[in-house]
């Protein structure tokens, strides 16, 4: 099975593209649906005129690699951001039904899965078009898996856009499916593929998704401070914040990922996660600002398994000034266990849960202070951290799973802190 690891990446992509195209019937096509977008790149450019309040997204679904904090590579399935890539036909259709532009889109998505999946930010009032293109699994050409996007928590969903393959549609390799969402409710959601959910989610098809409120930009004063960014349309500034960070909890079972990589039976019953992560990284990688430069390397050859792609773009480093109010959009997409996320030194004020402002039916706030939130997969909390005005520049606070066995990357026992932990650094 080492053969798969040793294949040259370019050969894999070119060969797999041929395989994907050969496996897809004529008429298959990459097809970005985004009204007004004439070149199919999901970006309003080149003199295009889009309807007002329209957002477009184009994701690829496929496979790739991520680097764990102990240096090990993990084979993953996930999504890739294809926004900006022209997909509209520019040349005659080939025998498979795709043009050169469409084939370039497929190639760009191949072996380029991001971990976590690209963060999706929508705004209240938007009409969102999300196109999903299945680029196939390069490392597993034996798989013909379809994919979906499940907008987890979207209020009043219909089956056609729910991304649940059992009650709806999923997209086969080499083609695109477009979802439409009218965005009416701000808050912290999440998204994931729902096809063969246990497998595809353990493999990493998980990402941050949140919706900003219409109240953004309208100043409201609360507790002596004036805010122009809010979690919800609170009317009183009580969900206002200075800075916001998406914090998605997740974890991997190394045995499962390795079995998938090496084409072995998948251990569902024995699934036990060992890499505990925030936004797709274990500590200390969590605090690397921006995109992670270190790459997943083949343990035998040292080859960069991701080729030119950077797969881990979402940092969890939280920086703030003394006195600032920091919003954590915490979501959990763990598939094997619950997590308790603790901020031991800076109390958390919980203002929202599951993409709803924490209000009772009479409209009164149910905000509460705590130092921890306990979350199973599929839950979200909007948590405020009020950085003490007395905090000093350079001070570091911690945010971590208080399920302490999760403070490790795989089998690290003596290596110090690792796993589901990140830092809040005062500027």
């Amino acid at each position: 099975m080492q053969m798969f690891k040793r294949l040259d990446r370019t050969l894999v992509v070119v060969g797999a593209l041929a395989l994907v195209l050969a496996a897809t019937p004529a008429g298959a096509q990459v097809f970005v649906q985004c009204p007004g977008d004439t070149n199919g790149n999901s970006v309003e450019d080149g003199g295009e005129s889009w309807p007002a309040n329209q957002q477009c997204f184009h994701l690829a679904a496929g496979d790739g690699f991520a680097r764990m904090a102990d240096g090990s590579p993990s084979y993953i399935f996930s999504f890739t951001d294809l926004n900006g890539l022209v997909s509209a036909p520019t040349s005659p259709t080939d025998a498979q039904g795709n043009t050169d532009a469409q084939n370039r889109v497929l190639e760009a998505g191949m072996l380029a899965a991001a971990w976590p999946a690209p963060t999706i930010v929508m705004y209240e009032g938007a009409e969102a078009y999300l196109t999903l293109t299945n680029v196939g699994m390069m490392i597993r050409p034996d798989l013909f898996d379809a994919h979906t996007v499940h907008f987890h928590g979207h209020p009043n969903m219909a089956t056609v856009f729910d991304g649940l393959p059992e009650s709806g549609l999923s997209i086969n390799m080499g083609a695109s499916l477009s979802y439409y969402y009218k965005i009416t409710e701000p808050g912290t959601y999440m998204y994931h593929c729902h096809v063969e959910a246990t497998e595809h989610m353990q493999m990493g098809m998980l990402g941050n998704l949140y919706v900003t409120p219409a109240q953004d930009g309208t100043p409201h004063s609360y507790d002596g401070k004036t805010y122009s960014q809010f979690v919800y349309n609170d009317g009183d500034g009580s969900t206002g914040y200075d800075r916001a960070y998406p914090i998605q909890l997740g974890s991997f079972d190394w045995d499962f990922h390795n079995a998938s990589w090496t084409v072995q039976p998948l251990p569902f019953a024995d699934m036990k996660d060992e890499y505990f992560m925030i936004n797709g990284r274990g500590y200390p990688d969590t605090v690397i600002p921006g995109t992670m430069a270190a790459q997943p390397l083949d343990p035998d050859t040292g080859e960069d398994l991701n080729g030119p792609v950077d797969s881990q773009e979402v940092s969890s480093l939280i920086t703030a000034l003394p006195g600032e109010r920091v919003l954590l959009r915490v979501s959990n997409l763990n598939v094997t266990t619950e997590n308790t996320l603790m901020s031991p030194s800076i109390p958390m004020t919980v203002v929202g849960r599951d993409a709803k402002q924490l209000l009772n039916p009479a409209g009164d706030p149910l905000y509460y202070q705590t130092n921890s939130v306990t979350m199973g997969g599929g839950m979200s909390y909007d948590v405020m951290l009020d950085i003490p005005t007395t905090a000093l520049s350079g001070e570091t606070y911690f945010l971590y799973s208080s399920n302490l066995y999760q403070l490790a990357n795989h089998d690290e026992s003596e290596a110090g802190l690792g796993g589901m932990l990140t830092e809040i650094v005062i500027q």
């Binding site: 089956t159 059992e166 549609l169 993409a355 009772n360």
Partner: protein, 480 residues
């Protein structure tokens, strides 16, 4: 898009055929299946349950005898009989024990006023183990008061870490004193707990190695290790998916009488009685819409009697169900604000000259004259069976709008078994041979499941476990 031009009536023949094929999976009862009365005769028995992967697991469970023996033919059942009780009344359960170990009953959250038995055990009075030599069963008796309405768990109080795992548990539903099945369906003594349909979601799990140990008579050398417990089966109401989607009391699941097929029409209020019956926590995610959590552990989330609303109730889309806890929540899916008409745009309704209407003269909740954005209720003369139908709770702002995207061509799609062939509620569409078929009413099915996706398996096999489908049925489809 061609596939979408069919209206359900045109597909009636297909629907009827599909429905005929599904008689083996009859519709769910909208009320929770259980037994009523003031006294109950339970026998703790051994038996086997089956799992969808072909497994057969030795279990211990409670069975209803005497006047309630018809409920499950006196057999051991997993879970035990669901007791539907009334607020303020006193109940007695006599327990006869045919198990090789002592057993008992406890009722967390309810007041036990009298208990007796063979032995005064650690927690409560216990019935002795069955004596195979003398053929004498142990006995015990418990009298308790259904103090307050709500959802409760009962289980064995004898070595519960083993006996609950083995199956000795069940659910108690206490109806408010003013509850009336026809006129006053309320979960608690509060108007905001009114519901149209109610369903039970009892979460349990099993490690079959524990069961094998007792099945083989507790042999030396085969002891199970409590610290090594590792479940590989997960259940709703005693059945692992997809068995929970079968009919209730089907003959081939004789010890697992309860199913779970939640169904509702748009705008109906669905009461979810969610119970953590095992050792693990389960994040229970209900696709489709948020729900309002109204109670925990039988306690209404109302901290201040001075306000009319439930002032501690909160909304969620995933409930963390912890061991031994119960949570009650209400969900009402309307399909509002999706930006398109879930009943289909007029041109699409080829059978109808004018298409459906969205009539909104009244506030659906208060009955006051004036628009509330939703099509009126049937009582307010929004008639889904009219030649020019009106669909209650349709979001009128979106009326007449088609879905804003084209669906891919058939060869590019993988189809779900519950896909009707159409994005519109109550409409079927053409599907390739062998696709679809489980959705004869062209409902909107949503998965309600543990979001700890590992639990969507049956002993290493996906899919299964804690998973069911919630059906938003088109108006006019009978649910009761």
């Amino acid at each position: 898009m061609k596939a979408m031009k069919y209206r359900n009536r045109r597909w009636l023949g297909v629907t009827l055929m599909a429905a005929a094929l599904l008689v083996l999976a009859p519709v769910a009862e909208a009320a929770i299946d259980g037994i009523t009365g003031t006294s109950f005769e339970f026998t703790a028995k051994e038996g086997y349950i089956t799992t969808p992967d072909g497994g057969s697991i030795y279990c211990w469970g409670y069975s209803a005898q005497g006047t309630h023996s018809a409920h499950n033919d006196g057999r051991m059942q997993y879970p035990g009989p669901t007791l539907i009780l009334n607020e303020g009344q006193t109940y007695t359960i006599t327990l006869s024990n045919e198990l090789p170990v002592p057993v008992s009953l406890i009722f967390p959250g309810l007041t036990v006023t009298a208990a007796s038995g063979d032995v005064d055990g650690d927690i409560t009075w216990e019935a002795n183990a069955y004596d195979a030599g003398t053929e004498i069963a142990g006995t015990a008796s418990y009298t308790f008061t259904a103090d307050a309405p709500g959802t409760y768990l009962y289980h064995s109080g004898t070595n519960p870490k083993v006996q609950v795992e083995m199956g000795l548990l069940g659910v108690i539903v206490v109806r408010p004193a003013t509850y009336d099945e026809l006129d006053n369906r309320i979960a608690y003594n509060h108007a905001d707990t009114a519901f149209g349909h109610e369903y039970l979601f009892l979460h349990t799990e099993m490690d079959p190695r524990v069961h094998q140990y007792y099945e083989f008579g507790m042999p030396t050398g085969m002891e199970w290790d409590n610290s090594d417990w590792w479940p590989v089966y997960w259940f709703f109401n005693g059945r692992a998916a997809p068995d929970d989607l079968l009919g209730s009391h089907v003959a081939w699941l004789p010890t697992q009488p309860y199913n779970l097929i939640p169904r509702a029409h748009p705008g109906d209020k669905v009461l979810m009685r969610v119970v953590g019956g095992g050792r693990e926590s389960h994040p229970f995610h209900h696709h489709g819409d948020h729900a309002l959590v109204i109670a925990m552990d039988g306690q209404l989330l109302d901290g201040d009697a001075g306000t009319p609303e439930l002032d501690l109730a909160y909304q969620e889309f995933t409930m963390l169900v912890n061991p031994g806890q119960t949570m009650d929540a209400i969900l009402d899916w309307t399909g509002e604000k999706m930006g398109w008409d879930i009943y289909g745009p007029p041109y699409y309704e080829v059978d109808q000259e004018s298409g459906h209407i969205c009539q909104d003269f009244f506030n659906n909740e208060t009955g006051a004259i004036g628009s509330d954005g939703y099509a009126d209720t049937e009582e307010q003369l929004c008639d889904p069976t009219s030649p020019t139908p009106c669909y209650p709770y349709e979001w009128c702002e979106d009326h007449g709008r088609a879905i804003p995207v084209l669906l891919p061509e058939t060869q590019n799609l993988a189809f779900g078994a519950w896909w009707s062939g159409s994005p519109y509620l109550g409409s079927a569409g053409a599907l390739p041979p062998g696709e679809g078929g489980l959705n004869p009413n062209s409902a909107y099915p949503f998965m309600w499941h543990s979001h700890k996706e590992k639990e969507l398996t049956n002993n290493d096999i996906f899919p299964g476990g804690q998973l069911t489908m919630f059906f938003i049925e088109p108006h006019g489809v009978a649910i009761d």
